[in-house]
C-alpha cells in the first residue's frame, strides 16, 4: 500500500532545483505544475514516489520533480515503471512521456500495459510532434497536416490514443489540456488515485514546432451544435458523459460504457472533448500476482527476506532439491 504523508508538503517541496529548459510558452510547464500540485494535494511522500519519464522534451519532467525521477529510454517508460511498481507496490509510481515516446516507438508497450492493469497513472504529453528532435510528425498529427519543420505534409494517419487505450484494456481513460490547470490537476489526481492502469492524454501546445495547434487555436471558439460559437475544448463529463462502470460484472453496462467511450474518442467536428472517458474497477496485476504467490501478500518482491544479519542466504531450497535428489 502506498502511504500518505501525515503533514502534507507544499507544492514547492516537489520542485527540484534543476533549471527548466523548456521553450517559453511550452504546454509542458502547465503539466509539470499540475503534477506537482497533485502530489502535494495527494500528500505523496517524495521519497516513496517515483516519476518515470520517457525521452523527449516531455521526458525532462523527471529532472524537475523533487521525488525520485527516472529518465528511461525512448518509448520505454512503461516497462521501466511497471517493473518498479511490481517490484515494490508500496511505491507511488507515475509514468510521463511524450506522444512520440508513448504512442510512437512505445506503442507496443502501450497496448500491453493495458493487459496488465498495473496500478499507476500514465500521463502523455500530446503535442503532435517529436519536440526534442526538432519537430518531426508524431503519431498524433493528422494526415496531410504540415507543421513547421516538415518538408512535406504528413503521410501517416493519426492514431486515436484514447480508443487505442480502450481496446487495450486500460481501466481509466481521460483527456485534459495543458493550460487548463484546474481540470488538469483534478484529472491527474484521479488518474493517480485510480486503482489500476490509467491513461491521461494531455493536449500540449508546442509553440516552437506545432504552428497548427497552438494555445490560441485551442482557445478559439468554434461552431458547436447549430451556429453558436462555443469553446473548442469542452468538458464531456459536464456535458453529460459518464464513463464510469458501476458494476464491472454487468456485461451490458460495460459494453455500453465502452461504446460511449469509443464514440467520444472518435468525436468528430471542431470541438474537442476532455474529461474521464472510461473507468472500471478490475483486479490489478499485483492482486493477480498475490493470488498466485501468497508470499507476495506479506512482502513485496523487493522486500522478501533472503539473507540473515551475517549475510548468509536464508532461502531454503531443500524442498526443491528433493525433486532432483537420488
Amino acid at each position: 500500500m502506498v502511504s500518505k504523508l501525515q503533514t502534507p508538503l507544499t507544492v514547492s517541496a516537489y520542485k527540484s532545483e534543476v533549471h527548466n529548459d523548456w521553450c517559453p510558452g511550452c504546454g509542458d510547464f502547465g503539466i509539470l505544475q499540475a503534477v506537482q500540485q497533485s502530489c502535494a494535494e495527494l500528500a505523496l511522500p517524495p521519497g516513496e514516489t517515483m516519476v518515470f519519464a520517457g525521452i523527449g522534451c516531455s521526458g525532462k519532467v523527471f529532472n524537475y520533480m523533487a521525488t525520485h525521477g527516472v529518465h528511461t529510454l525512448h518509448g520505454r517508460v512503461l516497462p521501466f515503471a511497471v517493473g518498479a511498481k511490481l517490484a515494490n507496490p508500496d511505491l507511488e509510481v507515475v509514468a510521463v512521456g511524450g506522444d512520440g515516446d508513448g504512442y510512437g516507438i512505445g506503442a507496443g508497450h502501450f497496448v500491453h500495459a493495458g493487459r496488465r492493469n498495473v496500478d499507476m497513472a500514465y500521463i502523455v504529453m500530446t503535442n503532435e510532434v517529436y519536440g526534442l528532435t526538432k519537430g518531426q510528425a508524431s503519431p498524433t498529427l493528422g494526415r496531410g497536416q504540415q507543421t513547421k519543420s516538415l518538408p512535406l505534409p504528413n503521410t501517416n494517419d493519426a492514431i486515436q490514443p484514447l480508443a487505442l487505450a480502450l481496446s487495450s484494456g486500460y481501466t481509466w481513460i481521460g483527456r485534459s489540456y495543458a493550460f487548463d490547470g484546474k481540470h488538469l490537476k483534478e484529472m491527474i489526481k484521479k488518474a493517480i488515485e485510480h486503482k489500476g492502469m490509467a491513461l491521461l492524454d494531455v493536449l500540449q501546445p508546442c509553440p516552437t514546432f506545432n504552428d497548427l495547434h497552438t494555445a490560441e487555436w485551442f482557445n478559439k471558439k468554434v461552431k458547436g451544435e447549430g451556429t453558436t460559437m462555443l469553446p473548442r475544448i469542452f468538458n464531456a463529463n459536464e456535458a453529460g458523459h459518464d464513463g464510469a462502470v458501476k458494476d464491472p460484472t454487468n456485461h451490458d453496462e460495460v459494453a455500453d460504457k465502452q461504446k460511449k467511450a469509443f464514440e467520444l474518442a472518435h468525436y468528430h467536428g471542431d470541438r474537442i472533448p476532455v474529461g474521464v472517458f472510461y473507468e472500471i474497477k478490475l483486479p490489478t496485476y499485483v492482486e493477480r500476482m498475490q493470488a498466485q504467490a501468497p508470499m507476495l501478500i506479506k512482502y513485496s518482491p523487493a522486500r522478501v527476506p533472503y539473507e540473515d544479519a551475517s549475510h548468509l542466504p536464508t532461502t531454503d531450497l531443500s524442498k526443491s532439491y528433493e525433486e532432483f535428489m537420488f
Binding site: 521519497g47 516513496e48 520505454r76 516497462p79 515494490n88 508497450h109 497496448v111 501468497p294 518482491p301
Partner: protein, 622 residues
Amino acid sequence: MKVVNEVNWMIGGPQGTGVDSSANLFSQACATAGLWIFGKREYHSNIKGKHSYFQVRVSDKPIHSHVDEVHILATFEDSTARLHAHEVVKGGALIYDPTKITLDDLNLKSGVITLPIDFNSVIRHVAEVTGMEYGTLSLMKNTIAVAASMALLRMDMAHIEATLARIYTGRKAKLVAPNVAATKKAYEAVDALPDEMHDQFPYHLEPKQNTPKRLLINGAQANSLGKLKAGCRYQTYYPISPATDESNYLESHPEYGIAVVQCEDEIAAIDMALGAATTGVRASTATSGPGFCLMSEGLGWGGMNEVPIVLFDYQRGGPSTGLPTRHEQGDLMFAAFGGHGEYPRLVMSPATINDHFHLAFESFNYADRFQTPVIVLNDKFLTHSLETIPPFNEANLIIDRGRLATPQELEAAMADGKGFPRFRPDAKTVVSARPYPGQEGSPYWMTGDEHDDYGHITEKPETRKKMHEKRMSKYRLMLEQIPEEKQFSLNGDPDADLTLICWGTTFGVLEDALPILKEKGINANFLHYRMLHPFPIASEKILKKAKKLVMVESNWGTQMGHLIRMATGIFIPTQVVKYTGRPMSLNEIIDSVEKIVKKQVPPEVDPLTGQSIEKVVLTYGL
C-alpha cells in the same frame, strides 16, 4: 569381456513421442541404482514429428561429457534406426520394431545384436491386462524401450518400478501399473533371447552401493536454484528457446515469492527488470540470441545508471534465428562489446551444471558490488543436459549487496535537501553509495544522459570525464576484486606439454579428456575461462608459460582466442572449433588433440590475421 557400468545409451524418435520421458526414466533408474549419468539431448525447432534423440551415458564414476559411439540404440519407429544404426558399436545392441523396419535397410555394423520388439503387441497386451484403452497407452513405447534396454543391461527391474512410482504421482499415479506391466513384458522379451546373444552383449549395469546422495539435474534447473538462493525475486522473460526453461521453472515455484513476469517482448523484459532493480530487488532476465539483441539498449542504460542487473543469455546457434534448438558459443563478442558507446559489464560463463548454480548465485553479488550489468553466458548444451552431481555446496555462500547507502549518508542527504548523491564516486570504493526508494533521504535521479552526482543531466565536459572514468574504472575493480580462482582455472598437470584453452561449458569434456589423453601418452592440461570480459589478465602468466596452446571453442571465429590476443597479444594458431550446432564429444576432442600432436593438421592462412593456423573443424553429431 564384460564392461560394467560404462555404457552409452541412445533413444530417438519423432518429437512429441516421448523421447525425453524415456531418457528421464532411463536416467533416473540408473541414478536410483547409484550410477552416474551424463545425458545430452538433440532436437529440432519443431513441435511434433521431426527427429530428436537423447544420449545417456552411464558410468561408475562422475562423468561430464558425451561420446559418439553408441552401445544401445533404442528405437520404436523407422527413422531413428535409419539415422543412427551406424553409430552402434560392434558388440552393441539395437532395439527395434520389426513391424516398422527390416534390418536390411539399416547400415548396421556387423556384430551388433538386434532385439526385435513388437511394441504395439506389448501395448495391446497391457491394455488387455489392465483394462485400459489402447490409445491412452501409446506413449508407453518409451517405457518398453527403456525396459528392454535395462533388461539387456541386466539391471534389476526394481529400479524401473521405483522410478515409475516416483515419476507418476497424483493424478498420474494410475499410469504406474500399466507401465510396470509393460516393463515386465519387455523383460520377458529380453529373457527370451538366446543365451549366446546375452553372452555376446558385454555391457552390464550393476547398482553401486554407498553412492552419496546426488542431484540428477540439468543446467536450467541448477541455474534457477542458484538464482533463488541468491535472493533473485524478480524475473522477466519473453519465451525463447533454450532460455524459457529457466523462467518456466521459476514460474512453477511461486512459493519462493519470486515475481515472474512474461513480457510483451525482450525490450520490455530488460527494461522491466531494470525498473524493478531500481527499487532494490535482485532482478534478472533470461533470453537467447535474438532476444539478447533487443536488450542492448537497455543494458547500456543499466551501465550508465549503474544498475545491478543480471542477464542470462542462453546461447544457441546463430546468427539471426539460426539454429534455435542447437548449441553454440557464439555470443561472446556481442556480450563483451554489445551496445553503443562504452560502459562496463562483466561477462562470465559457467563451467559445469554444478557451476550453473554457483555462478548464478555469485552473479548477483557481482552485479551489486560493481553496480553494473552482469551477463552470464549459458548455452543450449548444458541447459538441456542431464547430469548426476553432488548436492550444491552451500557452505561458503554469502550475500554481498555491495555499497549500499548507510543510515548516516541517508541522514546527511536528508539534511542537505538536494537529494541523494547517488553517483558521487566514493573515495575508497569508487562505486557509489546506493539507497532504495522508500528510504528517507533517498530520492535521487537517474538518466541515460550523462549526469552529475545527483543524477541530474549535464553536458559539462569535466563532469562527463569524471563520470565516464568512474564507470570505466569498474573494469579495474572487477579484475582486482574477483578472486582469481573464480576467473579462470588451470586443470591438470601445470607442466603439461599441451595446454587446451576453453571457456564456459566446454569444461566437462576437457575434464573427461585429460586422463584419456594421458593414457594415450599425451600430457595435456586445460585452462578454463569462467570470466570472459574484462579479460582475466592474471592468466597471462599461464599462457606465456604453456608449451603449446590449443584454442577449443564452439564457434567459427575462436572468439575467446580473439579476446586473448586483444588483451595479451598472444595469437593461438592451433584451434579446435565446431559450429554445426552440436556440442563437442569426448572422442572428438581426443581425436583432434591426437591429430594435432601427430602434426596431421594441414596449415592454412587465417584471412583475418594473415597468420598461418592449424584448425580442426569438428562435425560429428546429427
